[in-house]
């Protein structure tokens, strides 16, 4: 774990507890920080991320809203312009689409449009990606669509320790941060340092080391890559696995560095393939390290259809370890 500040002992907690620790820690540290969203207070969070926070901080800082994503996102942004540090919880990023004007047209552009007078230190966070048979309206992966906009930052942790450190960084950052969690990971457990620490933006973590191929991923699919690495290692194929941790900024340096060693790259991305993060990573690799490629880059995305409901169709649609293994093997020809 790089860049830990006051962090001390490590214990095993869930992803949702790690997120909560980051918010609670920052709210204790800085009175300007507050949490606003649907069901965050009295209900203790639709996914229990904010459990107990109302009891500690009271209703003036843990704020239940009506179902008004555009309204409360804009409210938070206005408050941020006045010097507060809001955390906005979207029950799901799928529901942020109705707030697109506030989060995409206002938040990331305020600083530029005002000629440097007002920034927007606000964190938007919530569940991203397929939650499990929720159908197409509720299964959005917003990373490709939203990260297209300059002026915002985007973080997407793959494990509890990063979740806490990245969220702490997000809350302290002066720019608008889009923080992408996954409902499917909230109960995952992992070692998380106690106390206060940050994980810097723009620094990928090398989760596995190998020589045959570079695997690049972020968020939940990093875990599928880990599985794939295990399967491949059994056959003597080793990969560098880079967990990007933030999409904007993107640590392209680390990708290029790894590629110069492996000469092959597979990007694993849980959003649709067209104009995706995988597309962006591959474009940057081609621009910066074309001569180091021994084979055409490959991508593993979701299938290019609306997210289906049926269990088997949804499973067929999502990236998984088998698809990653197949992509690496076909790239290596073994």
């Amino acid at each position: 774990m790089p860049a830990t500040a006051a962090a001390t002992d490590t214990r095993t907690i869930t992803f949702r507890e790690a997120l909560r620790e980051a918010m609670v820690g920052e709210m204790r540290r800085d009175e300007r920080v507050f949490l606003i969203g649907e069901e965050v207070a009295q209900y203790n969070g639709a996914y229990k991320v904010s459990q107990g926070m109302l009891d500690e901080f009271g209703p003036k800082r843990i704020i239940d809203t009506p179902i008004s994503e555009s309204g409360f996102s804009g409210l938070a942004l206005g408050a941020a312009m006045c010097g507060l540090r809001p955390i906005v919880e979207f029950m799901s990023w799928s529901f942020s689409l109705v707030a697109a004007d506030q989060i995409l047209n206002n938040a990331p552009k305020m600083l530029y449009m005002s000629g440097g007078q007002w920034g927007a230190p606000v964190v938007f966070r919530g569940n991203d990606g397929a939650g499990g048979q929720l159908g197409s309206t509720h299964s959005w992966c917003v990373e490709a669509l939203y990260s297209n906009v300059p002026g915002l930052k985007m973080a997407i942790p793959s494990n509890p320790a990063d979740a806490k450190g990245l969220l702490t960084t997000a809350i302290r950052d002066d720019d608008p941060v889009f923080f992408l969690e996954s409902e499917r990971m909230l109960s995952d457990t992992g070692p998380v340092p106690e106390g206060d620490y940050t994980v810097p933006f723009g620094a990928a973590a090398l989760r596995r080391e190998g020589t045959d191929c570079t695997l690049v991923s972020f968020g939940r699919p990093v875990n599928f890559c880990l599985e794939a690495c295990d399967a491949l290692e059994a056959d003597g194929i080793t990969c560098d696995l880079l967990d990007m941790r933030t999409i904007r900024p993107l640590d392209a340096e680390s990708i290029v560095e790894s590629l110069k060693k492996t000469n092959r790259i597979v990007v694993v991305d849980q959003s649709w393939p067209f104009a995706s993060i995988a597309s962006e990573v591959i474009a940057q690799v081609c621009e910066r390290a074309f001569d180091w490629l021994d084979a055409a880059p490959r991508r593993v995305n979701t299938d290019d259809v609306p997210t289906p409901y049926a269990k088997n169709l949804e499973a067929a649609y999502l990236p998984n370890a088998d698809k990653i293994v197949a992509a690496v093997r076909s790239l290596l020809g073994r």
């Binding site: 409360f72 206005g78 047209n105 530029y112 449009m113 005002s114 440097g116 993107l250 392209a252 621009e287």
Partner: protein, 369 residues
């Protein structure tokens, strides 16, 4: 709209004892100066636009001057203010340097946003003007947020100042979802924000009855959100002050929202490219009979005897010069240098890897800061 319908828009007789009666002459003379400045500024804006000195979409405030000047006179210099894209009047009434405002439209580095915002996006941090917003209705949740911050700063951070936020919108914005969400939140949370509809009867070519239900009784919309609503004659700045000041004071004191339907009119087209086929010339001419600047000047000269016609002429000359100077200042100012301005002010905390193209930097200090 017919003449008869137009005349129903006047909102009752003036009270005999008026709040404005207790204000010193200089205050009202100041309003006359501000309103005259806005009008002259906008005349020169249209001229500069025709000469292709100003680009993009540009919306002038001529006819509506009493709205910004009258309402802003009711609040403190550090109360937050936010508006839509017809924003030059608010910027000037709030105290923005006319040169910075004109230079912004000319796309110059000396503009209030260093030429990165344009006519629709006037921001002035020292004067607590939070923009200028180009998307119809987009500023209304932000306005709730400005009020939320004021309330939070008192109740959580222990600052003792009570503030009230002003959020202006056009009558067309009444039909945007964002506005209704914002009103509901303001009512629900008890936020000290006043939504001020600059009701000039049209959104582009759509007369208000064609776009809005309850157009003749807009305060009912506010009532649905538990928010006090009133209609005020926005062509009479004295009336605006008389009626708006108690509302602003009450919202500040009682920490609650309000909704104000200000009846006004724009004399010119919606933007600089509007043939105005949707309304009769006679309608425009009739409204001009009750021009807000003429009304105030007449009050000061004839009723108050606070100003002579010669004083008025001198004021006009002085303002003409101020605006001429603003135009000259804009014209003579340099364009924002591509380096570093294009890639600056995108992030407050720029860091490597944010763009595949290059790194972001910090730009020149904003001229207003």
């Amino acid at each position: 709209m017919t003449t008869a319908a137009a005349s129903t828009r006047q909102t009752g007789a003036r009270p005999r004892k008026r709040l404005t009666d207790s204000l010193p002459d200089e205050t009202l003379i100041g309003w006359l100066r501000d309103m005259t400045l806005i009008r002259e500024f906008e005349v020169r804006t249209m001229q500069a636009y025709s000469n292709a000195k100003i680009g993009g979409f540009c919306h002038v405030y001529i006819g509506e001057e009493a709205c910004a000047v009258g309402t802003l006179a009711c609040v403190n210099p550090d109360d937050p203010v936010i508006t839509a894209y017809r924003d030059h009047g608010h910027a000037l009434a709030r105290g923005m340097d006319p040169g910075a405002c004109m230079a912004e439209m000319f796309g110059r580095i000396t503009g209030c946003a260093k030429g990165k915002g344009g006519s629709m996006h006037m921001f002035d941090r020292p004067h607590w003007l939070f923009g200028g917003h180009g998307i119809v209705g987009a500023q209304t949740p932000l306005g709730a947020g400005l009020a939320f911050a004021a309330k939070y700063q008192r109740e959580v951070l222990g600052q003792d100042q009570k503030k009230v936020a002003l959020c202006y919108l056009g009558d067309g914005a009444l039909n945007q979802g964002a506005f209704h969400e914002a009103m509901n939140l303001a009512g629900l949370f008890g936020l000290p924000v006043i939504y001020i509809v600059e009701n000039n009867r049209y959104s582009m070519g759509t007369e208000i009855h064609r776009g809005t239900t309850m157009a003749d009784d807009l305060p009912k919309k506010a009532a649905a959100y538990g928010v006090e609503g009133v209609t005020i004659d926005g062509m009479d700045v004295l009336e605006v002050y008389d009626r708006f000041k108690p509302i602003a004071d009450a919202c500040r004191e009682e920490v609650r929202p309000a909704f104000v339907d200000l009846h006004t009119y724009r004399y010119h087209g919606h933007s600089m490219s509007d043939p105005q086929k949707y309304r009769a010339k006679e309608e425009v001419e009739e409204v001009k009979q009750r021009d807000s600047i003429d009304l105030l000047a007449a009050h000061l000269i004839e009723e108050r005897k606070a100003l002579t016609p010669d004083d008025r002429k001198a004021m006009q000359q002085e303002i003409k010069k101020i605006v001429r100077d603003a135009v000259r200042f804009a014209e003579e100012s340099p364009e924002p240098p591509v380096e570093p301005e294009l890639y600056s002010d995108v992030y407050l905390n720029p860091q490597p890897g944010l763009s595949p193209i290059r790194e972001y930097t910090r730009g020149a200090k904003n001229p207003l800061l």
